[in-house]
């Protein structure tokens, strides 16, 4: 970006501005899209592919925030130290510096555009719905969870005293259909870097693709009444073989009986509030 | 008056564009309707002020070189004190409590509101208290 002598007046400021913008924007863009080895800034590398994308975006945002935060706090500290009162003289009554004001309007706009593009790219990854055979229905109710599996007998139900375990295979796209039977709940697994509301009357669908086996801790995040604090569940990620074994364990006669009992519990939970509702609406009409 | 009008009209214009973009993009009606009426809430007073600004000369407060003398004279009538805001407030309080504790609270509530309305009008007609 060498300036020729013929450059019209005003161009130096413009190019300086552009260079500054690039200096700010490039590292943010580069990091958020490539994901090199940077500190996690308090977040953790997730155990799902989508969570990992969000983690890289987090790193990018954090680098930007750290640079801008350090710069601004540095300016404040410098001003506070350098311009403390030294006498009763009245300083120069500067009120405007238009080029400077334009610079600190334009650079933030450029940063915002970069952040937005990075956001959209990550968002498309996180919200992608690839075709898959594994489909789990998660049902939230006051105060527990029920997980049923499409075309399978398998089921897991539990409330505050016995948190249910959602079993899912590793390295596979798993479609989750989330809904609620009563109030708004929140499906949140910390290690997956993901959460979604369970809304009554809405089927919320998303895909989880776990990269690691193990037991993960899940919890309701949206206030749902008295026992909101202890509305836990667990997600158990197992190998494909273990997953198949677990599924088929519900096809034996005993397994079927357990599943039927659990289904009955879930059905009761799901319909527990409905008669009250109809009664009230009938009474009111 | 013109600057006041312009602020509201520009805000309204921005809201209008935002509303059009949002509504056509999302097809979500609740937000679209609220933004539409937000637009109206800016354009309505904005166009009223604009209409007025075309029909009156610049006021002393719009004139950058106005002297304090130019503002001398009658400004407005300001009441010294009045009990009726308090009575009206207490009436509203009782009416809201009637929503919770039973409609019998409406009796004192409406009584206070009617008293405040009649009394306030009478006070204004008398020329107010000092």
């Amino acid at each position: 970006m060498e300036l020729t002598p013929q450059t019209p007046k005003g161009a130096p400021a413009k190019s300086r501005l552009r260079r500054l913008a690039i200096a700010f924007a490039l590292p943010i863009a580069g990091i958020s899209l490539s994901g090199c080895t940077l500190p996690g800034f308090g977040a953790h590398q997730s155990d799902t592919t989508t969570g990992q994308s969000a983690y890289y975006l987090w790193q990018g945002f954090s680098v930007g925030a750290a640079i801008i935060g350090a710069f601004v706090i540095g300016l404040i500290l410098y001003a506070v130290v350098a311009y403390r009162r030294k006498g009763d003289a009245i300083p120069k009554q500067t009120q405007y510096h238009v080029p400077l004001e334009i610079i600190y309007t334009v650079i933030p706009i450029l940063i915002v555009i970069v952040l937005f593009v990075a956001t959209i790219i990550t968002e498309n990854k996180v919200l992608a719905m690839p075709k898959t055979d594994v489909s789990i229905n998660a049902n939230a109710f006051q105060w527990g969870w029920g997980f049923t599996y499409d075309n399978q007998n398998a089921i897991a139900v539990g409330s505050t005293t016995d948190s249910p375990v959602m079993v899912m295979p590793v390295d596979t796209d798993v479609k989750i259909t989330l809904t609620s039977t009563d109030v708004v709940h929140g499906f949140y697994v910390r290690d997956f870097n993901f959460s979604r509301y369970a809304l009554p009357g809405v089927d919320n669908q998303f895909t989880l693709h776990a990269t690691k086996t193990g037991m993960f801790f899940g919890q309701c995040t949206q206030l749902c009444g008295l026992y909101h604090s202890i509305m836990y569940y667990k997600v158990k990620v197992v190998t494909q073989a273990e997953y198949q074994t677990w599924l088929s364990s519900f096809n034996t006669p005993e397994g079927k009986a357990t599943a039927d009992a659990a289904k009955k519990v879930l059905k009761e939970q799901m319909s527990a509030h409905v008669p009250v509702k109809t009664e009230i609406s009938r009474g009111a009409n | 008056m013109r600057v006041e009008a312009k602020i509201l009209l520009w805000l309204g214009l921005f809201f209008g564009i935002m509303c059009a973009v949002y509504w056509t993009w999302s097809m979500e009606n609740a937000g679209g309707v609220m933004m539409f009426f937000g637009t109206g809430l800016c354009l309505l007073p904005g166009s009223y002020y604009y209409w007025w600004s075309r029909r009156m000369g610049p006021r002393a407060e719009d004139d950058p070189n106005a002297t304090q003398e130019s503002g001398a004279g009658y400004v407005d009538a300001f009441p010294g004190s009045s009990i009726f805001p308090f009575t009206l407030g207490m009436g509203a309080f009782c009416i809201v409590l009637a929503m919770v504790f039973g409609s019998w609270m409406l009796i004192p509530g409406l009584a206070l509101v009617i008293w405040a309305a009649l009394g306030g009008i009478a006070e204004g007609r008398r020329g107010g208290t000092r």
Binding site: A65, G69, Y96, T122 | E28, D63, V100, R130
Partner: protein
């Protein structure tokens, strides 16, 4: 140079009688019948500070409960009421009324050289509706079933009659309606005052930034609050009149409540914040002995925030899965731009100044730093993928507490700055500085562990949490910060008692810029005996320092 201000007429039209000497009722009757914006503003200030103390006391109980994973201070049911009422009191009864009812009511008419608000009786009504609304909401603690317990956002269907029966919830709705109307009337009043009662020469672009921000806030109030009131009426009718607006059974939509609530709720965030931005914008230049840097940029930044604020509400609803993510993401990110302009302008106002570190100035600098932290973490939340994993965790709690604690710092700055004008007596500066350091450090000790907790996965609104030693340590630190904040608030009360009627302030203790420093402390009944000529946005400064006018751009090229 100066002349008689206004020939103010009493309604009785007895011409020629000076109205500066006011002979109204005395004592309690004076308080009940007053229409003087200064007394109403003072009532607002005292009431909202009492609400701050009540809300703060609830917060201390919350932090006490959370200091241990298995806290037994309160039950889960009580805990739900506690945080609901803490949030409701702080947002609806403290921050809002303090922002646009308390100092605004006192200062805005004086800053533009007006004798009173445009509608003094309506102004008084606003206060009575606010007071009764506050009492209504607090009555919830004394009814069977306790106060409202569905969070300050009152998400339907949790807030309907099936899941939250009882009078507490109805009192919450009723209290909100009253304070909502109070806010609407204040908005009308400030708009009309600014549009019609400015002194000669006080053009819109000479108004102090504080008044500008209050004007913008008033417009936002008129756009946002009716939506909330309508939403509450629908919620009440769902609860008691058999409608199904927010319930799935009967064909309603729970998400509709969230749309309505946040359509009010996000502009409300700026309704709360902008007045405090304005206070700080008044204070920093005065104590740097410089004009506000980039005055016009500041005004346009405020207007831009207002313009964008109507299109960002659903960033609170990213995880519902039913909103248009890119639209709300870009709109929310863009708000960072005008906010950044403001921060740079504040720094610019200090640059090459003569900074006098009074308590008010310290609080203002503390505000800028704390708000910067809250603002930067807010940018993360404008990005849906990042919001997905921080939503409803303590990260959010920490983010908005950084912001609102910044507002508390700003509010304290405002009280130290304008307190002498309102009461006529100085507050003790030394206690003020101790209070500042306690509040500032306490705020960071309080919020920073919460950011980490949120990233480690602790959801908000938890009465108990899994027994993890690290979580417990972080929570304990946060509780320590809360105690520091509590002590600093006590220091403020002590300061008022200690400095009660001790050191008279004089008309202009800070060498102020704007018209309120031209009149006496406290100002007379209709504010001014005389006014200076208004030739810039710093009439009092220009009057006192005729040789130090603000430089136009170009004369200051370095």
């Amino acid at each position: 140079m100066t002349t008689t201000a206004h020939d103010i007429q009493a309604e009785a039209h007895d011409h020629g009688h000076s109205h500066a000497e006011h002979h109204g009722p005395r004592g309690i009757l004076n308080w009940l019948t007053t229409t003087d914006h200064k007394i109403i503003g003072l009532s607002y200030t005292i009431t909202s500070v009492i609400m701050l103390v009540i809300g703060g006391a609830l917060a201390e109980v919350i932090r006490g409960q959370l200091a241990n994973p298995d806290g037994h201070l309160v039950t889960m049911a009580q805990y739900n009421q506690l945080f609901t009422m803490h949030g409701s009191i702080m947002i609806y009864l403290f921050a809002g009324p303090f922002a646009f009812g308390a100092l605004a009511n006192i200062i805005v008419p004086i800053q533009i050289g007006a004798p009173d608000m445009a509608f003094p009786r309506l102004n008084a009504l606003s206060y009575w509706l606010y007071l009764t609304g506050a009492i209504t909401m607090l009555l919830g603690f004394f009814v069977t079933g306790g106060a409202a317990n569905f969070g300050w956002v009152g998400y339907a269907p949790l807030s309907d009659a099936i899941y939250s029966p009882g009078a507490g919830a109805d009192l919450w709705i009723g209290g909100l309606m009253l304070t909502g109307f109070s806010a609407i009337f204040t908005g009308v009043n400030i708009c009309a005052t600014v549009f019609y009662l400015r002194a000669p020469g006080m053009t819109l672009f000479r108004m102090p930034i504080f008044t500008w921000n209050l004007l913008v806030v008033s417009i936002l109030i008129l756009l946002a609050f009716p939506v909330l009131t309508a939403g509450l009426i629908m919620l009440y009718s769902d609860r008691h009149l058999g409608t199904h607006i927010y319930t799935v059974v009967g064909g309603g939509s729970p998400v509709l409540w969230q749309h309505i609530f946040w359509f009010w709720g996000h502009p409300e965030v700026y309704i709360l914040a902008l007045p405090f931005f304005g206070m700080v914008t008044e204070i920093i230049p005065v104590f740097s002995k410089k004009p506000v840097f980039g005055y016009k940029g500041m005004v346009f930044a405020t207007l831009t925030i207002a313009a964008l604020s109507l299109g960002v509400w659903a960033h609170h609803m990213f995880t519902t899965g039913v909103v248009l993510l890119p639209f709300f993401s870009i709109m929310s990110l863009l708000i960072a731009v005008p906010t950044g302009i403001k921060i740079f302008n504040w720094i610019g106002s200090m640059w090459r100044g003569q900074i006098w570190f009074s308590a008010a100035m310290l609080f203002s600098i503390g505000f800028v730093v704390t708000f910067l932290i809250g603002g930067l973490t807010g940018i993360y939340l404008a990005s849906p993928p990042l919001d997905f994993f921080t939503h409803d965790t303590y990260f959010i709690v920490a983010h908005f507490h950084s912001v609102v604690m910044a507002l508390v710092l700003g509010g304290m700055a405002g009280l130290y700055y304008w307190g002498p004008k309102i009461t006529g007596y100085m507050l003790n500066e030394r206690i003020g500085k101790v209070q500042f350091w306690l509040l500032f450090i306490g705020t960071q000790v309080f919020t920073i562990p919460q950011y980490i907790l949120g990233l480690q996965g602790m959801p908000r609104r938890m009465a108990i949490y899994p027994n993890d030693p690290q979580w417990q340590d972080l929570n304990t630190w946060s509780s320590v910060g809360a105690i520091m904040i509590g002590i600093s608030t006590l220091l403020f009360v002590i300061n008022i008692v200690v400095s009660w009627k001790k050191h008279p302030a004089g008309d202009n203790p800070w060498d102020g810029h704007t018209l309120e420093w031209f009149t006496t402390s406290p100002p007379p009944h209709h504010n001014f005996f005389r006014l200076p000529q208004i030739r810039s946005e710093r009439p009092t400064w220009d009057h006192n320092h005729p040789d130090a006018k603000a430089l136009a751009h170009g004369k200051d090229a370095h």
